[in-house]
Homo-oligomer: 339 residues x 2
């Protein structure tokens, strides 16, 4: 099972961004995760990093007179360290208290994007804080940033490109370890914040200032690791039709074709439920079997088919290679049947 933790799993809207708050919130999250870490089920975790990147960018801004400002991709790497550590601490403690012998391994993860991705021509992803108009225009002039006014929230924000993730660079390695029989021994934490975006130039890897959508990255991880189940954790109990109306209709069990129709007709908000549903559709079309959207308290029930939005395909449209067949090393347990 691949679990994608949204920002709410780490920091609540009312929080101030202290470490103590993050620990408290992650403790709630990992307690539920430990409950569902049962024999026969693999657990791989991916997560967002929006508020944490925002804080580090702001610190870098305020320190700019003294300390060279790091590129955005470096700040992304720093949040992978920070949040990988947080998840390892709290999930490690929770697993231990339930006597589950699994090591949490946060992997600093890079994701390849194309330097010719059209997203680089039309930056669309807001990062960092809100600026007053004068400062925003000055940043545009001095640093070439793309700035957009958010009238509703009263300020300007920097927009960066959100290119399509092509390949998670550490993915083959993690897959090989899982295939060697470690699925019930390790919990990998990967592609935090969507992964650090890199391009290949003249035979070398170079970081780029962009943000990869974390749900798209989750779909990629699901494909590269050939996961059976993708559970996207958010702060609402599932996806809904007419969400903004006075009568939202929560989706429970739904077919892949039906969900795809809803998605195509624009039922799910961009930058919110839209990319989650899109990631689920992609995951299932690429060979996944179960896709869930749920909040953290409902995760155990959602896995049992009694909560959340759930899409299940009995026979994946694209058969998965050796992995579903339980490819194993001689002498190791037949783990590639794990969920």
């Amino acid at each position: 099972m691949l679990v994608a933790l949204g920002g709410n799993a780490i920091q609540r809207a009312q929080d101030h961004g202290t470490w103590a708050e993050a620990v408290r919130q992650m403790r709630r999250t990992t307690s539920a995760l430990a409950d569902v870490t049962v024999p026969g089920r693999e657990l791989v975790i991916t997560h967002g990093n929006g508020p944490q990147v925002g804080s580090l960018l702001r610190e870098a801004e305020l320190g700019a007179g003294e300390i060279p400002v790091p590129p955005l991709h470096v700040v992304g790497a720093e949040t992978e360290g920070q949040l990988g550590y947080l998840i390892a601490q709290e999930l490690g403690s929770a697993l231990r208290s339930q006597r589950v012998d699994r090591s949490v391994l946060p992997i600093v993860s890079r994701v390849e994007v194309s330097p010719r991705d059209p997203a680089f021509r039309t930056p669309s992803k807001p990062v960092g804080r809100f600026y007053p108009a004068g400062e925003a225009l000055s940043l545009r002039r001095r640093l070439g940033w793309t700035m957009r006014e958010d009238v509703r929230r009263g300020g300007w924000r920097r927009l960066v490109a959100s290119p399509r993730p092509l390949r998670w660079l550490e993915g083959d390695a993690v897959r090989e370890v899982l295939e060697a029989g470690f699925g019930e021994r390790f919990v990998f934490v990967v592609t935090g914040g969507g992964g650090i975006p890199v391009v290949r130039r003249r035979g070398r890897w170079e970081g780029v200032d962009a943000v990869i959508d974390k749900d798209r990255a989750a779909a990629l991880v699901g494909r590269q690791l050939e996961m059976d189940t993708l559970a996207i954790i958010t702060d609402v109990p599932g996806a809904a039709l007419d969400y903004k109306s006075s009568h939202p209709r929560w989706l429970g069990r739904v077919g892949l074709e039906e969900l795809t129709q809803y998605w195509k007709r624009g039922e799910f908000a961009e930058g919110s439920m839209g990319p989650k549903v899109e990631a689920g559709i992609r995951f299932l079309r690429d060979g996944g079997r179960v896709f869930l959207i749920t909040d953290i308290p409902s995760l155990p029930e959602a896995l049992a088919g009694r909560a959340g939005t759930r899409v299940e395909v009995s026979a994946p449209p694209t058969p998965r290679g050796t992995r579903r067949l339980g490819r194993t090393l001689p002498g190791s347990p037949g783990r590639r049947r794990l969920k």
Copy 2:
């Protein structure tokens, strides 16, 4: 082989701390590392983080009015992300250009220390920047920091505890992966900056504001992974006697007992060559076979026995368990004879 990269491998004294400088310097370092990544030799990397922690702490200080200041252990985790990323980028590129098919996997690493370590009563490790006296005394009063004046460099610095590392928490997992036959497939990057220091309290892991000496952590990693060779990379070609005199005597090949005598009589500077030599002695006493101190350009020659300070023990005083015997899974290559 376990390679411990000193600060100079990442940032030179004359650098300003920009990312471009760090990339350039790491490129030099990883080019030499790729040269020695040959069949039959495992490579595991650990590294320091002093200047990077200093920069992030300073940014946090300057942003303190707006953004909650993160604890020191969280900043340590951030540098593991930052530098793990840097090493993965550059070593990955260098290995690729030499057609070596190994994945670089940076692991966010925690190291257990004892809450009763006497080091917590006498903080000794300087972190962060220099403060003028007034500010230093105010920080002591307001935050309870231990501050010490450095007369030579003209300022006050914060001192934190440097407790003894007891256990690298992710070490068993990494060892299991190496033992499953992945020694020539992966390059693990571990315990950056000495590892994130954590203690166990009431059954949970908690981070503590301390800095683990990176050379001591390297010795611990060497023991936990049962590495054959520890190479400490620094900015001088080896250890020397009478180092501060006009006639330093560089040590080439030296016996373990002889080196131990030099170390005991205080030939090696505290906070500089001293902890490196101490780590090497510990590594060899714990079962390692070869210990090297070298600069990066001389690494290939040092491995061949023609440069650097080299201590080699033919039969380790403490025999290593199953590892030296080439414990393998059925069907996997007999890799635990790797160096």
